[in-house]
């Protein structure tokens, strides 16, 4: 995966969560499946999406929450 694709992938993940704020809680697994499909032409794998989520949570752009199951969210 190129650096450009990685940046696009991370942006797409954040935008997806932003778009559905207060409407839907995304489990990390849902995002992996969604992004793997969306970026399949770029050769993005499950592990790439997991790595992108790791980078986003490590940098604080996304945080984890829990409500009957774990989900990803924008920081409050």
């Amino acid at each position: 995966m190129t650096d450009e694709t990685k940046a696009q992938l991370e942006e797409a993940i954040v935008n997806l969560i932003k778009e559905f704020t207060n409407k839907k809680r995304f489990k990390p697994g849902d995002i992996v499946k969604e992004m793997e499909m969306k970026f399949s032409v770029n050769g993005v794998t499950k592990d790439d999406v997991k790595a992108a989520i790791r980078d986003l949570t490590d940098s604080g752009r996304l945080i984890y929450g829990y409500a009957g199951g774990s989900f990803l969210s924008l920081p409050e």
Binding site: K27, P28, V32, T57, D58, Y64, Y66, G69, S70
Partner: protein, 401 residues
């Protein structure tokens, strides 16, 4: 110190000669005002016969999705001390070994930044610091990291793997449960700290069939020590035991498969019929020992009664030569776990444990997906019927070959 809240119902629970959780909370309340409010809230819960806790929310430390269990009071105005009362889970060392120095350091952190209450250990095995405010989480985490500790698992993630004391303190251990637990914990840090599963997943490693971690009932994947050869018998010691206890009543008579007998010539065991339950070895530990060809049985699917009813694990791999795989960093075992998780990820639904998924899709489909051959030993309990119907032994008209 005078009590902030009157607690007549809790006071009843201090009576008797056994340690009381109320006494311990009161001791902690001498150091912490928030713990005083805890007593008030618990008293009210007893009075009203309902709990006053909410859990979950956006509580954690940076980069981690697990390790902190958010806990809030639904009566924050009345009990401000427990408005936020989170739990910090700390990954325990294999076999729960600590120095007194490190324990002092951990409790010093808890006394300074939390309620002065601890669980040693939580039901999954972690050390738990109770009663932490959101603002204190990062501080506690950083201090624990400086001691060489890390957070455990929570949420839809791999929960902290745990094991018995294994070969460090037990003569019955058939494999190095502590080493395996440590290796697996290191290998799956990402799965533990960054929730990615449909629901929780637990490993527990027990050195023998006594199953001191209760893995068969409490772990999605239970790893239980066993042996392939014969029970080692010291006939002289058997005779010594026979002088003290009735072997027919308490040993051979209690054998679940009736595979042993005792007479003046000594103890005889039909090892091909032994289910390795450990009963006879437990009664006569100086006379009997597990065989020397140790390994493990891998079982899958147990859970407590949350979404659906409770389940015990079923046998997935009857005998796994763990010592051989250990030379290769447990790679075969890790590959198996990877296949199980992949199937669960693909076909499991939200809040569905792997055992429930197998029940829903059928064991045949599951085994095919993870690439294991069905075996007659894949049973839910010793002497139970296998799940697998071998069609090649059944004619079209139903007559058995």
């Amino acid at each position: 110190m005078s009590k902030k809240h009157q607690t007549p119902l809790l006071d009843e629970l201090k009576k008797g000669k056994w340690p009381s959780f109320v006494t311990e909370i009161e001791r902690a309340a001498e150091k912490s005002e928030m713990t005083d409010d805890l007593l008030g809230q618990v008293e009210q819960s007893y009075k009203e016969k309902m709990g006053h806790w909410k859990h979950g929310g956006m509580v954690g430390v940076k980069g981690y999705g697990g390790g902190i269990v958010g806990r809030f009071s639904d009566l924050p105005e009345k009990y401000p001390g427990v408005k936020e009362f989170h739990t910090v889970r700390i990954n325990q060392p294999s076999g729960f070994f600590y120095t007194s120095d490190i324990l002092r350091k951990i409790v010093d952190v808890g006394d300074k930044h939390a309620s002065s209450l601890y669980n040693f250990h939580g039901s999954t095995g972690d050390i738990q610091i109770l009663g932490v405010k959101t603002s204190e989480l990062e501080t506690i985490f950083q201090q624990l990291v400086s001691f060489g500790f890390d957070l455990g698992g929570s949420g839809s993630a791999l929960r902290t793997p745990s094991c018995c004391v294994g070969m460090a303190r037990c003569e019955f251990a058939n494999y190095d449960a502590m080493n395996m637990c440590y290796n697996i914990t290191q290998a799956f840090q990402d799965e533990m700290h960054r929730p990615i599963f449909n629901y929780k997943f637990k490993f527990k490693f027990s050195g023998c069939g006594n199953d001191c971690t209760a893995s068969i009932a409490r772990a999605d994947l239970s790893v239980i020590g066993t042996w392939k050869d014969n029970i080692r018998i010291d006939q002289d010691m058997v005779k010594e035991y026979a002088k003290k206890i009735n072997l027919h009543k308490y040993v051979t008579g209690k054998c679940p498969t009736k595979c042993m007998s005792y007479d003046e010539t000594g103890l005889k065991i039909d090892d091909s019929n032994c289910s390795k339950c450990m009963h006879c070895i437990n009664v006569m530990p100086k006379a009997l020992r597990p065989g020397v060809k140790g390994g493990v049985t891998i079982l899958l699917g147990s859970k407590a009664p949350m979404v659906s009813g409770p389940r015990l694990s079923m046998v997935l791999v009857p005998f796994y030569d763990v010592a051989e795989d250990a030379k290769n960093g447990y790679q075969w075992f890790k590959d198996l776990i990877g296949k199980i998780w992949e199937f669960w990820d693909e076909y499991g639904v939200s809040r569905e444990r792997v055992g429930e998924l197998i029940q829903r899709v059928g064991i045949g489909n599951f085994l095919e997906a993870i690439g294991l051959e069905p075996l007659p030993e894949m049973v839910s309990s010793p002497r139970g019927n296998p799940f697998v119907l071998y069609e090649e032994y059944v004619e079209a008209d139903g007559e058995k070959n």
